[in-house]
Symmetry: C2
């Protein structure tokens, strides 16, 4: 009874399969696990007995490489919040049933806050019932909002995509000599880490983003219009990066400012994003050419421009999670501790998953400049190492090669 | 009096600077031009006497390489439509004045339909006035709607970005097991070439785009809902690609269907895109999870994933335009003639610019499948060579290196 089950959960990233491969590499290297299974669609697949045999891929070095650079969760994903077992024990029983059916000893769950909550609850349940199953977490989220890890795998690649895209967009915008504003909306309901990555677009001395607003600070529309006017007085085309979750001082999402009363022909409310709301605002308050851009799912799935640092760390976290599991650690998460920015040095550790579950790590307010529309040098020093290095993506027929596990 | 002036115009692309570099490479190689200037912001910069000295870059091989892979128009761009000289001769006189001031003999204008109209009018004006200035055009447009050339430089790179992105998005969408529709809106008001490139997302056997609607065929919303329901019966997550310019049988843009009556708090009309309109439609008619994505300016500025074929052809067209100019050709455009699909073979020729100016090349209707929601194998054979090959982009500080000329 030394079989292993691995699953993925939450919003996909461009690096989550690298962590899966890290687990498989570890299994391959140490020979301490008999059979390896993957659950389809996270914990739901465990409950529904939907397991995939991963043993055959273990011998296939090329397939493991292709999987490393395949975006999204190759095992499928879910959004499932477990209730306490005192409230509803049934899901827990079904999970244990599957574990027993396949002789699973080790379960590694790759995911974000909600998934770490599952790891926490499930490991506590096992302890209380005296089951000796080992439940380990491995982190992932492009949002970088996980507690007790210096940063989250998947974030660096999303940040590299954002920095590159904003740099390219600034070239596009800079070609025109008429006053125009372009607003780029970046993922992050509560945490502005990804939006801050827009600042890295200036890394090579190019203009990049002119104004950057994170959701951690209340968004003042009057001050915003003033900021835009000042920038427009200096140059023709300006580029603004905003978090999707920017809110005013009352806590109302800026995206609700314009969408609340707008209805279409069918009487349905419009759900506009933050950038679209600001587009409307600039059109009415300034009247210049204005365009809004949402980086949408591309920022989490652009595997063709992953950060080498991120991919290697994601692999390492999979290996670390496995290593901890084999050392009989349970209810913990593999994690990154930063030793230094320059040179960039990290170590891989494990932390109690209870520190991670249901917490959200926000950008420290003193990493936002006092004027509220940029980030500090200290923040850039934190971000910069995470997007370094390019990956050797394999192309076939002109597009990157991706892998399907089912 | 053997100086040369080059300028760029219209919507930027990821390959338009490669054509500029092609012109400069030609100058560097043949030594038949004394001085090289670039006009800022296209023909407007010629009229306003805003010229940039490009001689220094000629000796800098590394800078030429960086410029090749810099997105957007490094010389700046404009949207300027010249009136006939019989109606307003003033702009023509100002252009000739600049030519004389800088001893310009050769003028090469890189652009799309409107820019070729400028080349046509200006060359005819010179002929009628017996001026011996040489006016040559070099094509560019991501839209691929230029007449008298097999395809347009810039299109292949945009198509590669679209095929790659749709492939990555299909991985993301495929990770969920709940019914969901994702609609990707792709540039093209009248021509669906770019939207068709979404079909190349399936090149490696992955699902890619499930339904593809080009703007050349009237868009039937009832049939569309039926198509979506049929696909949803087969799989959970489906991916749809549509041209921004899809219209119903009355010629009304689908984007106007929902936006016409919707107003925000200020009473401003909403300008929704086609995908957003279809998102509303699916929400009301099917009621499943639905998301719309606009590839927006990224599809024309994503220089980090340019097509090697496109970049090399773009360089060659700049060299060809120069070569024709030195052979005293005027009022013509450098162009690509395809010899075969497999192996992919082309030759570079020149065509009368009057064949190109103010024309729009649409997708042949028999390249759209009879069911109206896909493209034919013949079309794929046309598209496929254009996205082949990857370019060796230089990175610094984690993002691609771009060049500024002013």
């Amino acid at each position: 009874m030394k079989n292993l089950l691995v699953a993925q959960s939450g919003g996909p990233t461009a690096a989550i399969n690298a962590t899966l491969v890290g687990v498989l590499q570890g299994v391959r290297a140490n020979g301490k696990v008999d059979q390896v299974y993957g659950a389809k669609n996270g914990i739901e697949g465990v409950m529904k007995d939907q397991l995939i045999d991963l043993n055959s891929i273990l011998q296939d070095t090329k397939a493991m490489d292709t999987l490393t650079y395949t975006p999204s969760s190759a095992l499928g994903t879910c959004r499932y919040k477990m209730k306490d077992w005192q409230v509803d024990e049934e899901p827990y029983k079904r999970i244990i049933e599957t574990f027993r059916k396949y002789d699973i000893k080790y379960f590694i769950y790759i995911g974000g806050n909600d998934s770490m909550d599952t790891v926490d609850k499930l490991s506590n349940y096992c302890k209380s019932e005296n089951y000796d199953f080992i439940i380990m977490g491995a982190p992932k989220t492009i949002d970088n909002d996980l507690n007790s890890t210096d940063h989250s795998p998947g974030f660096g690649s999303a940040a590299k995509y954002i920095a590159t895209t904003v740099s390219e967009l600034s070239c596009d915008i800079g070609a025109y000599d008429i006053p125009a504003v372009t607003i780029v909306e970046i993922m992050g309901r509560n945490a502005g880490w990804l939006t801050a990555a827009a600042a890295l677009s200036r890394a090579n001395g190019h203009p990049g983003a002119d104004l950057i607003y994170l959701c951690e600070k209340p968004f003042d529309t009057t001050g915003f219009i003033q900021d835009v006017k000042e920038k427009l007085a200096q140059k023709a085309g300006i580029l603004i990066a905003v978090s999707e979750g920017i809110r005013d001082s009352n806590g109302t999402y800026i995206s609700e400012h314009t969408s609340s009363n707008a209805v279409d022909n069918f009487g349905h409310k419009y759900i506009a994003g933050a950038a679209r709301a600001l587009e409307q605002l600039i059109r009415s308050e300034i009247g210049c050419k204005v365009r809004s851009i949402e980086l949408n799912l591309m920022q989490r799935s652009a595997a063709h421009i992953t950060s080498e640092t991120d991919i290697i760390e994601s692999l390492m976290l999979g290996q670390k999670a496995l290593s901890c599991a084999l050392d009989q650690e349970t209810g913990r998460m593999a994690s990154i501790r930063r030793i230094s920015d320059v040179p960039y040095r990290v170590e891989f550790i494990s932390v109690p998953v209870s520190e991670v579950a249901n917490h959200e790590k926000l950008v420290p307010l003193d990493w936002i400049t006092p004027d509220g529309h940029d980030i500090t040098e200290e923040f850039i020093a934190y971000l910069k190492p995470l997007i370094q290095g390019e990956t050797n993506i394999k192309y076939n027929n002109g597009i990157p090669v991706h892998m399907k596990l089912y």
